[in-house]
Amino acid sequence: MSGQRVVVTGSGVVDGHATGVLSELLDATEARRLSRVCQMTVAAGRLALAEAGLAAGTKLALMVGTEFGDMVSTIKFVDDYLQRGIPGLSALLFPHTVMNTMAATTAIAVSAKDVSLTLNAPTVAGELAIARGAAAIRAGRIDACLAGGADEPPRFVVDTFRAAGATDVRGDGAGFVVLESLDRARARGARIFGEIIGEAWRALAVRPHGVGRPGHSPAIAAALAGAAAEPAEIGIVYTSANGDGPREEWERALLERALAPHRPPLRSLSLPAGRHAGVAARSVATAATEAGDGLALVHAVARGGNQIAIVVAGPRARAA
């Protein structure tokens, strides 16, 4: 591992808090051709790159987390067939039924030709994508990436989940942070908002769709170890609280045990606009801002056991 330092140089989020920006960030052809979730993804990517002052180009990687992909288009593809038979099938809609469609359209829009990965996970996909992106830069595999996620949960799916007892608050939107190596950011004189100093993701022993017991959190332990940080240094935690009571209770218990006896304040940015994979970018960017000269932890754990921990340092914390 080359041990590159990973810094945040830009962020962009498009969701209920950023209405009206799509028309400014997409050209007429994109607005006509792209599905809504792809439009949001492209727009968020452009916002983040603009803030980073990074020109679109070939040495840019993409890490896109998503829970639902473009399921709105998938349902339309199926409904058109069920209503009109074979003549109803759309060759234009079919590619949108594959979850990497947001990554594909964004790669084209910003000319990102390095590796592009779409990571699918329930409720924590954005955090997973940011952790994977940070690890790739740290290992020297990529120079820079847009990392975050996008979701547009279809009404039908949300209603079906609710009917089955789900209580979590879902939103739609997209968000990215720009991650790059400290050396590269310094060389181009980029503004540095913060540094990701440790990241890890692990699976807890939980049945699919279930929550677990408040046991050990290997992801938090590994992220802190990677950051060479102690729990007491964490000034604030951004959690994945999303209105799912049992899951939130589990997350609180995991954090209490992992950081004990330290009990930093817990905050979630999911609830105001609903949780989507792009919220992870907002959490990391806000954590960098709020950390000041200290550290913040971005934490997420999903039903089914996928746990992600990202340790973020403010711009002054480690002389970034």
């Binding site: 079919f94 790669a107 990571l119 699918n120 690890a135 939980v206």
Partner: protein, 392 residues
Amino acid sequence: MKPVAVTGLGVVSPFGAGVKAYWEGISGGLCAIRPISLIDTDGFRCQIAAEVPDPLGGSARRSRADRFALAAAREALDDAGIGRAERADTALIVGAVGGGMLEAEAWYWQRSRGVAVPMPRAVASCFPSAHADVVGSVLGIGGPRETVVTACSSGAASLAMAADLVADGVVPYALAGGVDALTRICFMGFNTLKLLDPAPCRPFDRDRRGMSIGEGAAFVVLEDPARARARDARIYAELSGYGMSTDAFHVTSPHPEGEGMVRAMREALGQAGIAPAAVGYANAHGTATPQNDRIEARALREVFGEGGLLVSSTKSMIGHTMAAAGTLEAVATVLALEHELIPPTAGLVNTDPDIPFDCVPRVGREIAVDHAISNSFGFGGQNVTLVFRRGA
């Protein structure tokens, strides 16, 4: 790249469950593409695919794809001798596209006709990530868990991502693979794009008319070679390099010059530290669409030059298994190195003059090669090349 050892293989293919059945099928040049039985094909131009035969095994309450994944993952772990204790610190990376959509579609079809049917358990597992959660939970795998969707290269991307985790020392072992079952959406979509041949596909043939779809799953166990030797594990091969690139050109069509494919292959060779001439065999993406085969051949020629390289497409026997394809073909490549036999391109009669390679028509070729590549390319211009070195 620090090489990683391949110490376990597991397969569920249109030849049935198990690596043995798979190798017997593809090394023998058998074609498993037949009339579709799983879904209604009335009115569609193409009505064939490569289905996994019964019996499937596993709980019928699970989705078909989950059952494929579980069977293949179990075989790979057992083959590598990875027990319960080691699994707690093993990464699980799954390439997936269709998830449990086959069952979700059946429910949604009925519901749309006004039939009041309760939502089956499998519908809750319709997303691609369901496979990793099921495999991880049932087999007790506690390391990093990821589901990657890079369309038809997902199964190859999963191996590359897993190799990173092993090479970086994050985990001692990784279980990586791909899985997909047939779905109505996939079948209808490729029919709509007019990319399916009504007859079994014929990659690289002058008269090829499109692809055949298939289904299955494959997993491999990756670990540090020194660790594998220390525990006397069987090393089938080493994954010595990979390349992943994006065309950033078109949502469905590859770059006409194969520019992204060339970058992926060169990156992979660079990581492996070998010259193009050292590679003896390429398991091609080889879908049998007129455009894709021509562009892949162009990219191969750009990297390797004309002639020397043996190129075959195992899709000619098991169809295009979508997210499983990258791993099934990686396993085919590893077994080709191990058995010193290159699987053929079944159904190839007249090689397209635009394909300047020996495409191993119809009959496998006995030859020992030290290095081989496996190409996988997906919608969105997602290119992955894996390089394997013959095991010591």
